[in-house]
Symmetry: C2
Subunit: 109 residues, 2 copies
């Protein structure tokens, strides 16, 4: 399992507009090999602004890297500039490889 996150610092009055932009986008992820899950996460606010992060789970780092070089990636980021005025600073990418995993979805009660 591999996780790619992109952290966004959003202006205090722009949370609704930022979420609406993400809800309205076409992610083009449905056709991408190795994609498991996408979410937009909201963290705790701080004095500067609102903290959001995109969060994608992949079967492997290779699947993520192939996606970043694909036409689907270009398509999905074509509208990305529309949220730039809502942000404080540049988004910060972080990439994570799972070294231990435990899945509890099939546990008994």
């Amino acid at each position: 399992m591999f996780i790619a996150m992109n952290a966004f610092k959003v202006k205090k009055d722009s949370g609704d507009a930022f979420e609406a932009a993400w809800k309205g986008r076409d992610s083009y992820l449905n056709e991408v090999p190795g994609i498991i899950h996408f979410s937009l996460l909201r963290g705790e606010d701080d004095e500067e602004g609102l903290n959001y992060s995109s969060h994608t789970i992949w079967e492997s780092k290779g699947d993520f890297e192939s996606w970043t070089q694909s036409e689907a990636f270009v398509q999905s980021h074509r509208g990305g500039g529309t949220t730039t005025p809502l942000l404080l600073g540049h988004p910060q990418v972080s990439l994570w490889d799972a070294v231990i995993e435990q899945d509890f979805t099939s546990k008994g009660d």
Copy 2:
């Protein structure tokens, strides 16, 4: 969906020992209501050291909060001090609520 992460900065020569400590622990998570998935993630190294993060996925923030007040939480953190000498600084908790979610595990080929 709710995600709790705890970021650890590990000394450059202590990655193996840090991973071994996590692999050897009893998480006590199997009996915890609302837990979906646990992973220990390794990020990209930087000049200071190695970046790791624990990463737990929950059905809701309430499930996570109940766990932090439970006996299972106390049990699972009883051995936490054993990794302290391997760390640079204190772990940094971040808590995330999903505002958008897309699951691709049931997609067709």
